[in-house]
C-alpha cells in the first residue's frame, strides 16, 4: 500500500536539521525527495561523528528515504538542473539565510515562474526580514530566545541548563512538514501553489508557548495566580534511584497515597482535594511524599503505583530503551542494514495509518551524491552530458 504522500515530488535544497527532518517525514509518507548537496563534504550533518561506511548516524536519522544529487550551484548549468527538477516537482524546500536563494536564482519568484503550482517552503532562523534576519543560527541559540532555556532550571538546584535535545530545530521541522501537507491539500482544493515561510524563532516559541508561557498568557491589571508546569516538574528519589510520577486529579492523588502506604492522607483535608493542596499544605505534602518515596526501592514503588492507576514510570537510560516491553511491543524501533554503513536502528515514524502506511524502509539514507547520475538521467541527460558535467566539476567525478 502506498503512503499518503505517494506520488508527491520534493526538491530539497536544505541542510543540517530543520529542513532535512521535515522532508524525511514527507519521504516516510511516500514522497520522492531529491536532496541537493554541495561538493566536498556535503550536508554539515555528514560530519564524521558516529560514522561508518560514508554515513553518519545524525545524517542517517534525518535523511532516510531520500535520493542525493551533488551539484555545483555556482555554475549556471547547476542552477538550470535545479530548475528542471522543479518544473516537475510539487514542493521545494530550502533553509539558506534570507536572500541567498534569490542570489542563486532559486528564490520563490524565480521558481514560481517555472512552476506556478509549486509549494515553496523557506525555513529561516529568525524570519525573512527584521533585525536578526541575517544572523547565523543553531538550535541552542533559538532555545535561548524562545523560553526553553529560560525555564530549564531545577528549583531545588537552581543551575540553568539547555534542553539537551535540539527541540527548536525539530519543532520547526514538524511545523514545516504539517504546513507543507496543508498547502498540498489546499492546492488540491483549488488554492494554487504558494510560499510558506517558517521562521525557527517563531516555531520554537509556538511550540514552547502552551505550557511554557501559561504564567504569561493572561495579562492586564489582575493576572490570575498559579504555578507553571515547569515549576512543578520533578524527579523523585527512591531508595535506589529515581522515578517519575505525575498526579493531576484527586483520584490520582488518592491512588498515590495508597501506593506509598499512607491511605490516611485521603481523609486529611489538607491533602484530599485540589483546593486543599495549595500553599503550606502543599509544602507539607511534598516533604511527606519525598520521605515516603525515599523509603522504598524504585521497582516496588512503580508496581504499587501502577496497581493504583497512578501515572508513573522509571527513568530509562538510552541503552534500556531497547529492552522496554512497550517500546518492543509497539515495534517502535526498527533494525536496518545499510550496504556500506552496516547495521543500524531508527525510531519508526510515530503515526500509524491503516490504509496508507508509512514506509521508512523504502530507501536507505543516501551516500553523498549516490543518485546524481540516476536523477540526471531521469531528467533526460545523456552519458555524454554527464561526462561533460564531470569534467566541468559540476557533478562529482
Amino acid at each position: 500500500m502506498p503512503g499518503p504522500l505517494d506520488g508527491i515530488k520534493v526538491v530539497d535544497a536544505s541542510a543540517v536539521v530543520s529542513g532535512p527532518l521535515c522532508t524525511m517525514m514527507l519521504a516516510d509518507q511516500g514522497a520522492d525527495v531529491v536532496k541537493i548537496e554541495p561538493h566536498g563534504m556535503g550536508d554539515t550533518l555528514r560530519l564524521p561523528l558516529f560514522s561508518r561506511g560514508g554515513l553518519s548516524s545524525f545524517f542517517a536519522n534525518s535523511n532516510r528515504g531520500k535520493r542525493s544529487i551533488v551539484l555545483d550551484l555556482s555554475q549556471a548549468e547547476g542552477r538550470e538542473i535545479v530548475h528542471k527538477l522543479v518544473r516537475d516537482a510539487d514542493i521545494f524546500v530550502q533553509n539558506w539565510r534570507p536572500g541567498a536563494a534569490d542570489r542563486l536564482g532559486l528564490g520563490e519568484p524565480a521558481l514560481r515562474a517555472i512552476n506556478e503550482d509549486l509549494i515553496y517552503c523557506s525555513i529561516s532562523g529568525y524570519g525573512p526580514t527584521g533585525p536578526y534576519a541575517n544572523r547565523r543560527v543553531y538550535d541552542p541559540i533559538i532555545q535561548g530566545l524562545s523560553g526553553h532555556t529560560g525555564v530549564q532550571l531545577n528549583p531545588e538546584f537552581p543551575m540553568r541548563d539547555l534542553v539537551r535535545n535540539i527541540v527548536a530545530d525539530k519543532s520547526s521541522s514538524y511545523t514545516a512538514a504539517q504546513a507543507i501537507t496543508a498547502a498540498l491539500f489546499a492546492r488540491e482544493r483549488g488554492a494554487g501553489g504558494q510560499h510558506i515561510e517558517v521562521p525557527m524563532l517563531d516555531s520554537s516559541l509556538a511550540f514552547f508557548w502552551p505550557d511554557g508561557m501559561m504564567g504569561h498568557t493572561f495579562h492586564g491589571d489582575d493576572p490570575p495566580p498559579g504555578r507553571a508546569l515547569y515549576e512543578i516538574y520533578r524527579l523523585s528519589e527512591t531508595a535506589d534511584g529515581h522515578l517519575i510520577y505525575f498526579a493531576a486529579t484527586d483520584s490520582e492523588f488518592h491512588g498515590l497515597f495508597r501506593a506509598v502506604g499512607h491511605p490516611e492522607w485521603i481523609d486529611d483535608p489538607r491533602f484530599a482535594t485540589g483546593a486543599g493542596r495549595v500553599g503550606e499544605s502543599l509544602v507539607v505534602l511534598g516533604e511527606l511524599m519525598a520521605n515516603a518515596i525515599r523509603a522504598l526501592p524504585t521497582k516496588e514503588l512503580i508496581d504499587r503505583m501502577v496497581a493504583e492507576d497512578v501515572p508513573v514510570g522509571p527513568v530509562l537510560s538510552l541503552e534500556e530503551l531497547f529492552d522496554d516491553p512497550q517500546i518492543a511491543h509497539n515495534q517502535a524501533i526498527l533494525d536496518f542494514e545499510h550496504p556500506t554503513a552496516g547495521p543500524y536502528r531508527q525510531a519508526r515514524p510515530a503515526a500509524r495509518f491503516d490504509k496508507t502506511p508509512q514506509d521508512p524502509r523504502r530507501r536507505p539514507p543516501p551516500l553523498h551524491g549516490e543518485h546524481t547520475d540516476e536523477v540526471l538521467r531521469e531528467l533526460g541527460y545523456a552519458e555524454t552530458d554527464l561526462d561533460r558535467m564531470r569534467t566541468a566539476g559540476l557533478i562529482p567525478e
Binding site: 558516529f50 547565523r136 538546584f157 514538524y174 504539517q178 510558506i196 509556538a206 493572561f218 510515530a350 495509518f353
Partner: protein, 402 residues
C-alpha cells in the same frame, strides 16, 4: 482562485480529546481554518479547565491549546447525547480522541462505529503507550513518557550531573504535531485517492511513547544508531550542550565551522587565536579541547552579557542571551515578526497568544480566535445539525447536555 482562507478551511473536525496531546493537534487544524467542535462531558470538562492561571472561566493552558474551537457539552452515555455526537460525526471529515484504549469503543464512538456511519472519516486516536501492549492500559502524562524515551536520561549537565526533566511538555507536543501532520496527510490522501477508493477515510494511531521517541531520536540517539564495530566515535550533541557564563549571567553560543570560530575569537578581542594552529581546524580544536575550553571560560567571564552579545553579533558569531519569560515579548525580532499578539476575551480579559509559525502566502492562518468557554456553542452547534430548541431543552432536562 479562492479568496484567502486557511488551507484547511471547509474541513470539519469533531474533537473528543482532552488535556494536551489531542487538543493541541486540533488547534493546529483550527488555526488553519478547520471548524473544530470540541465535545466535553457535563460532569467532567477538560482537565485543563481546572487549576491555575484561571480568569473568567478560562485557564491559560486551556486557552493555549484550544484556540479557535467551538465547545459543545454532551453526555455520551445518554441516548440523545450519543445521537448528537453521531450526527456531528456523520458530516465531519476528522475525528480525534485520546481516551484510554477501549473507552471510545465502549462509548460507541470507536473507529468501526463511526466509519459505519461515515466512511470518509479520518479517525485519529492518540494514546499514551499504544492501543495494545503491556503498558496500554496505564495512565500517561508527559513527564512519565519523557522518562521512557530518553529525554530525562540525558537531561544532565556533565559538569554538574544532577538529573532533570525537560521542563516543557515536549512529548505531549511532539505527539500533537505528529498527529496534526498525519491527519493532514490523510486528508490529502483521501483527496488523491491513495490507499483505496478516493473519498475513503482511514484510522491513524499515534502514541506519546512512539511520538516522543521518534522526536528524540535524530540527535538524542546518535550514539545508539549504528550497531556493531568499526564506528568512528564522536561526542553526541547533548554532551556538548552548555551555557556560557559571562560576568553577570549567561549566554548561549555555538560555533560550527572555522569562520564561526574566528568570529568568536574576534568578539572576545583575541584575534591572534585565529592564527593559532591549535585551533585552526575542527580536528585541531578537538585535539586541544581543554585548552580552548579554558580560554573561552576565562575570556567570556571578562564581559557582561550585554557587551559580549553585541560583540558576537557584530562579528557574526552565533549567539543569544538567555531570555527570561518576561523578556520574550520585548525581543525586537519577535516584535518585527509580530509573533505575539494580544486578544481580549469577553470574560477572561486580555491575553497574549503566539501566532502559528507557518506564514502561508495564499492561505490565511487565524489570529484573533480565542478558546471557548465550556459549552459556549452547545445550542449553536446542535441547531446546525438539525436539533430544534425543544429537543435541546429536552436534552438539558435529561442531563444529556447543560
Amino acid at each position: 482562485m479562492r479568496a484567502m482562507s486557511g488551507p484547511l478551511s471547509g474541513i470539519r473536525v469533531v474533537d473528543f480529546s482532552a488535556v494536551v496531546s489531542g487538543p493541541l493537534a486540533t488547534m493546529i487544524l483550527a488555526d488553519q481554518g478547520a471548524d473544530v467542535i470540541k465535545v466535553e462531558a457535563p460532569e467532567r470538562a477538560d482537565l485543563l479547565r481546572r487549576e491555575w492561571y484561571s480568569r473568567g472561566g478560562l485557564t491559560s493552558l486551556f486557552a493555549n491549546v484550544n484556540r479557535g474551537k467551538r465547545s459543545i457539552v454532551l453526555d455520551l452515555r445518554t441516548d440523545s447525547g450519543l445521537e448528537a455526537a453521531h450526527a456531528l460525526c456523520r458530516r465531519a471529515d476528522v475525528v480525534v480522541e485520546n481516551f484510554r484504549p477501549g473507552v471510545a469503543e465502549r462509548l460507541e464512538i470507536g473507529p468501526d462505529d463511526l466509519h459505519a456511519i461515515n466512511p470518509k472519516l479520518v479517525y485519529c486516536r492518540v494514546s499514551g503507550y499504544g492501543q495494545t501492549g503491556p503498558w496500554s492500559g496505564r495512565r500517561a502524562y508527559d513527564p512519565v513518557a519523557q522518562a521512557l524515551t530518553g529525554y530525562v536520561a540525558i537531561q544532565k549537565n556533565p559538569e554538574v550531573p544532577i538529573p532533570d526533566l525537560v521542563r516543557n511538555i515536549v512529548v505531549d507536543k511532539a505527539a500533537s504535531y505528529t498527529a496534526a501532520q498525519a491527519i493532514t496527510a490523510a486528508l490529502l490522501a483521501r483527496e488523491l485517492g491513495r490507499g483505496g477508493e478516493a473519498g475513503k477515510g482511514q484510522t491513524i494511531s499515534v502514541s506519546l511513547l512512539d511520538a516522543g521517541l521518534a522526536f528524540f531520536w535524530p540527535d538524542g540517539m546518535m550514539k545508539h544508531t549504528f550497531l556493531g564495530d568499526g564506528i568512528r566515535e564522536g561526542p553526541a550533541l547533548y554532551d556538548r550542550y552548555r551555557l556560557t557564563e559571562t560576568q553577570d549571567g549567561h549566554i548561549v553560543m555555538w560555533a560550527g565551522g572555522d569562520n564561526e570560530w574566528h568570529a568568536v575569537f574576534e568578539a572576545l578581542d583575541r584575534p591572534e587565536l585565529c592564527q593559532d594552529e591549535r585551533f585552526a581546524t575542527g580536528r585541531a580544536r578537538a585535539d586541544h579541547g581543554e585548552e580552548l575550553g579554558l580560554i573561552l571560560y576565562n575570556e567570556f567571564r571578562k564581559w557582561t552579557t550585554d557587551e559580549i552579545v553585541k560583540r558576537m553579533e557584530a562579528a557574526e558569531a552565533p549567539c543569544a542571551p538567555v531570555l527570561g519569560l518576561d523578556e520574550i515579548p520585548d525581543n525586537p525580532q519577535l516584535q518585527h515578526n509580530e509573533t505575539i499578539y494580544e486578544v481580549e476575551h469577553q470574560s477572561a480579559g486580555r491575553m497574549l497568544q503566539c501566532r502559528p509559525a507557518p506564514r502561508f502566502s495564499r492561505s490565511r492562518a487565524e489570529t484573533g480566535a480565542i478558546a471557548p468557554l465550556v459549552g459556549e456553542h452547545t445550542d449553536e452547534v446542535l441547531a446546525e445539525i438539525g436539533f430544534s430548541p425543544e429537543q435541546i431543552a429536552a436534552m438539558r432536562e435529561q442531563g444529556a447536555t447543560r
